[in-house]
């Protein structure tokens, strides 16, 4: 059996190899992330059958839990790891041609560090380890946001950094509290001991941890960095930030709330928080005229929807939420990637400058359209099954409050549809300046086509993923089996 | 027997219509202390017109006129004249209401083709006026159909034989009054003579017709007169089992119309619509409500 540690070790090692490789051969540098992520992807796929049978627990350094640091590769973690490698692979293919100027070596290095951090977060079973990987993820993303070194990039980067540092500080305080109370950092161990402590004492550490992770996962009102950072980063990085980074943050929140604390009284509060995030995100996006900001706010909205779905904590809704998460990674990635080249061509981020792009860049526009339709939840794209599962799971709970929240979800979908349809109209039906028809480079087109195929395939045959997601959702919800499999 | 009726009733209608036209001119003249033309003058005119040459403006000019007259002729097959009602089995009041559309529509298409400003004005007024009286008229007709619980006009007539004239039976009084109030408009006589208005818009839709066309148009006018009166008599005054009595009833209604025509000046089209949509419509509406309330 392959060792899941390689999922973290290989990209991490290769990340620091990048400068060396670069000094050996300039041309090879760009292909390092592609190779590393391809490796990760294959590894993830090979791990699937084993993980579906039993979660793999790796004890680093040979200490048995609760001592030492362990990796927990359950279906959920593997789902995320696979998603990260897949999205990372596609984006790195896209970057082959997209990233040409500037400190290319550092870009690739940081890019791989970011993905290493993300993979680490989803695989680790130790709270402090989670914090460390989280910091790797955050720091590399601060730097990548500022990649262009222009006014907007630097400004958003420093703002992101300030908020992120405050957030991770809060997370660390929370971890400190937890350690002070339980004397352990192993999540399974804490989860097991949680019932022995009075609930009210756990409140403050939980809030601090949720707030700290919430900054990265863009829960309202902690998400103010997101629109700036996503809109000023290079589009490939926006795609990763939107498709991976905030999802990983959300994963961490869910892990902490469900598995570590597992106190169901507070779930409804998170559902409300999710709806609030959703509504505010969609409404802000509705008012935007800058395409990347619009997409960024739309990410906030989607995160809200996923949070709502997870917070309902039934197998159906969590499966739906994860489906929506996968869909968001693919579609938002696709949207940012296609928008990236359209912006590159038109030289402006205003939606009005994209008028008539459908004629100038037909394939890129098609990619944008598919992404938008999928995100809105139109069949036969991947957004529809997710939305279907979330709504059906929520209605199945049969509570009036939740029914009303579902109404709000549907309402916000209408708002979301409105602003996406507006852009699609601009792409295809408004007359732009009569520039030459010129496609995006082959690598970028390959990346976009791959994502489009994934989206359509998931939309047409959702069952393909549903079973896996279902076991991932029980991984998230079933606290006892998590504890059991780690502590044996 | 049947075939004779089929041929006989349109001819009779035409004859009575033309007779009414002549009579109208005569009576008007007498009211105004003139001698007036002979009663058969319109018939003579029609025969004369058929021999005259005329200008045609195109295919639709011909088709529209033919369509208009043919439609009106078909209505006469559905309207009982006394007991003569050859096609009463093929449809009832609803068919008549719809057949009544063909006349104005054909006329409108025909004179529309001529591109004469007077014709355009006339047509516009004709359609508007029809719209005006159709509102109370439909209410009246619906009240009748609801009250007698049938849409067949022959049944309405035969039921009146038992109950008496619908105009004077209890729930239909209001409808009867409303019908009486809009009758001049339906017949197109003076206070509502906005369509043809010879002095104002050179007879409106008729302005471009000459020769055989004018003959057809006159016949269409005569038929319209006949249909309007006959419908009123059938629906409100009990029809008649005997054609002669039916004709006498028609004559009475006709004279009523002529007297109104002689006394009133012409309204403007918007005044006409406003009038028609106010009191007659309100009364007709009240009548329908009354029928609905008492009927059930």
């Amino acid at each position: 059996m392959v060792n899941p540690v390689l999922l973290i070790a290989v990209p991490l090692g290769l990340a620091f190899m990048v400068p060396l490789i670069d000094s050996a051969s300039r041309k090879l540098t760009r292909f390092v992330p592609v190779a590393a992520l391809l490796f990760n992807l294959i590894l993830c796929i090979r791990l699937i059958p084993a993980v579906l049978e039993n979660p793999i627990v790796i004890n680093l350094g040979g200490f048995t839990p609760p001592f030492g640091i362990n990796l927990f590769v359950g279906p959920l973690g593997l789902l995320f790891a696979g998603l990260i490698s897949l999205a990372g692979l596609v984006v790195s293919i896209y970057s082959l041609s997209y990233i040409k100027n500037g400190p290319v070596v550092k870009y690739h290095m940081l890019y791989m560090l970011l993905l290493t951090g993300a993979t680490g977060v989803v695989l680790t079973g130790d709270l402090f380890n989670l914090f460390v990987f989280f910091e790797i993820l955050c720091i590399s993303s601060y730097a990548l946001v500022a990649y262009h070194g222009d006014r907007a990039g630097i400004e958003s980067s420093i703002k992101y950094l300030i908020q992120g540092t405050v957030g991770s500080g809060l997370l660390l305080i929370g971890i400190g509290f937890i350690y002070g109370i339980f004397g352990t950092l192993n999540m399974a161990d804490i989860a097991m001991k949680i019932a022995t402590v009075e609930q009210s004492t756990l409140f403050v550490p939980m809030i601090l941890m949720v707030a700290g992770l919430g900054v990265e996962s863009a829960i309202f009102p902690l998400n103010a960095w997101l629109p700036d950072a996503h809109s000023s980063a290079p589009s490939s990085i926006s795609a990763i930030l939107s498709g991976i980074a905030i999802e990983v943050g959300l994963y961490a929140v869910a892990r902490i709330v469900f598995t570590v604390f597992g106190i169901s009284d507070i779930y409804l509060f998170f559902a409300f928080l999710g709806i609030l995030t959703l509504l505010i995100g969609e409404m802000c996006a509705f008012a935007q005229s800058n395409i990347k900001r619009m997409l960024a706010y739309s990410s906030i909205g989607q995160i809200g929807l996923i949070l709502f779905a997870l917070a309902l904590a039934t197998n159906n809704t969590v499966t739906g939420g994860l489906f929506q998460l996968v869909n968001h990674t693919f579609s938002k990635g696709l949207l940012f990637l296609s928008a990236g080249y359209m912006i590159y061509r038109s030289g402006s981020m205003e939606i009005s400058s994209l008028n008539g792009m459908g004629k100038r860049m037909p394939l890129t526009s098609l990619a944008f359209t598919v992404g938008a339709f999928s995100l809105v939840g139109l069949p036969p794209f991947a957004g529809f099954p997710g939305k279907f599962l979330i709504v059906s799971g929520a209605l199945l709970k049969g509570e009036m409050v939740i029914n009303i929240l579902v109404g709000l979800v549907l309402l916000s979908t209408v708002i979301e549809g409105t602003y996406f349809f507006r852009v699609i109209q601009a792409l295809y039906f408004k007359d732009g300046n009569g520039e030459q028809r010129k496609q995006a480079p082959a690598t970028a087109v390959t990346a976009m086509i791959a994502l489009m195929i994934l989206i359509v395939a998931l939309g047409v045959y959702p069952k393909f993923l549903a079973d896996f997601l279902s076991s991932a959702s029980s991984d998230l919800l079933d606290k006892m089996s998590y504890v059991g499999s780690v502590l044996k | 027997m049947h075939i004779i009726e089929f041929i006989f009733s349109p001819l009779l209608a035409l004859l009575i219509g033309v007779f009414f036209l002549g009579l109208a001119r005569k009576v008007m003249a007498r009211i105004q202390w003139r001698y007036g033309p002979p009663v058969m003058q319109p018939l003579i005119d029609i025969i004369r017109l058929l021999s005259q040459k005329s200008a045609s403006h195109g295919v639709a000019f011909n088709i529209g006129l033919v369509m208009s007259l043919a439609g009106s002729l078909v209505i006469t097959l559905f309207l009982p004249f006394g007991k003569i009602a050859p096609m009463s089995n093929s449809g009832g009041m609803l068919v008549i209401l719809y057949l009544m559309l063909i006349g104005p529509l054909g006329m409108a298409i025909s004179s529309g083709e001529s591109a004469n400003p007077n014709a355009s004005i006339g047509i516009s007024r004709k359609l508007l006026l029809a719209m005006g009286y159709e509102l109370p008229f439909l209410l009246v007709v619906l009240a009748l159909m609801k009250a007698y619980n049938t849409t067949s006009i022959t049944e309405i007539v035969s039921l009146q034989r038992d109950t008496g004239w619908s105009m004077f039976t209890f729930p239909l009084v209001l409808s009867g009054i409303a019908y009486l109030l809009i009758l001049p408009a339906m017949l197109g006589v003076r206070p509502f003579e906005v369509v043809n208005a010879p002095q104002e818009i050179s007879s409106g839709p008729l302005v471009e017709y000459g020769g055989p066309y004018l003959a057809l148009a006159t016949l269409q006018h005569a038929l319209a007169l006949f249909i309007g009166i006959s419908l009123f008599v059938n629906l409100m005054w009990g029809g008649a089992a005997n054609p002669v009595i039916f004709f006498l009833k028609m004559l009475v209604v006709f004279f009523l119309g002529i007297f109104v025509n002689a006394v009133f000046p012409r309204l403007r089209i918007d005044q006409a619509i406003r009038y028609l949509w106010r009191w007659p419509s309100l009364i007709a509406f009240a009548g329908l409500i009354l029928v609905c309330v008492t009927g059930s």
Partner: protein, 119 residues
């Protein structure tokens, strides 16, 4: 008095955290904000150390057999703090380098004036 004595490290730690947070909140000079972040980091580190600290405890090294593990300070927080310090330094370095670039672009470090990205 004993409360103060027992919890002096915690009070100090949270005092530092609050000071740092307050600096971040109210100061609008970027350098001061970064200093605030740094102070907050220090406070957090102190807090972590305080969790594992035992009054009169010995170093967590089994140097001689008579040292009882009961009297050792907890080694885990110290390991954590080492890592946290490294991370803090990295963030600080990045923040300062960004501040330099920011000054080049905007000619000011006043965060009230650096509001091009909003809404």
């Amino acid at each position: 008095m004993s409360f103060l004595q027992n919890n002096i490290y915690y009070i100090g730690a949270f005092g530092l955290i609050m000071i740092g947070l307050l600096t971040v909140l109210v100061k609008h000079n970027l350098i001061k904000v970064i200093i605030g972040l740094s102070i907050m980091d220090t406070g957090i580190n102190l807090f972590l150390i305080a969790i594992g600290y035992l009054r009169n405890g010995t170093a967590p090294i089994f140097s001689s057999p008579e040292v009882e593990s009961i009297l050792m300070v907890d080694p885990v927080p110290q390991a954590l703090v080492l890592t946290a310090i490294v991370i803090g330094v990295a963030v600080l370095a990045l923040a300062l380098s960004l501040a330099i670039r920011l000054y080049k672009h905007f000619g000011t470090l006043d965060l009230h004036k650096i509001k091009e990205l909003k809404w």
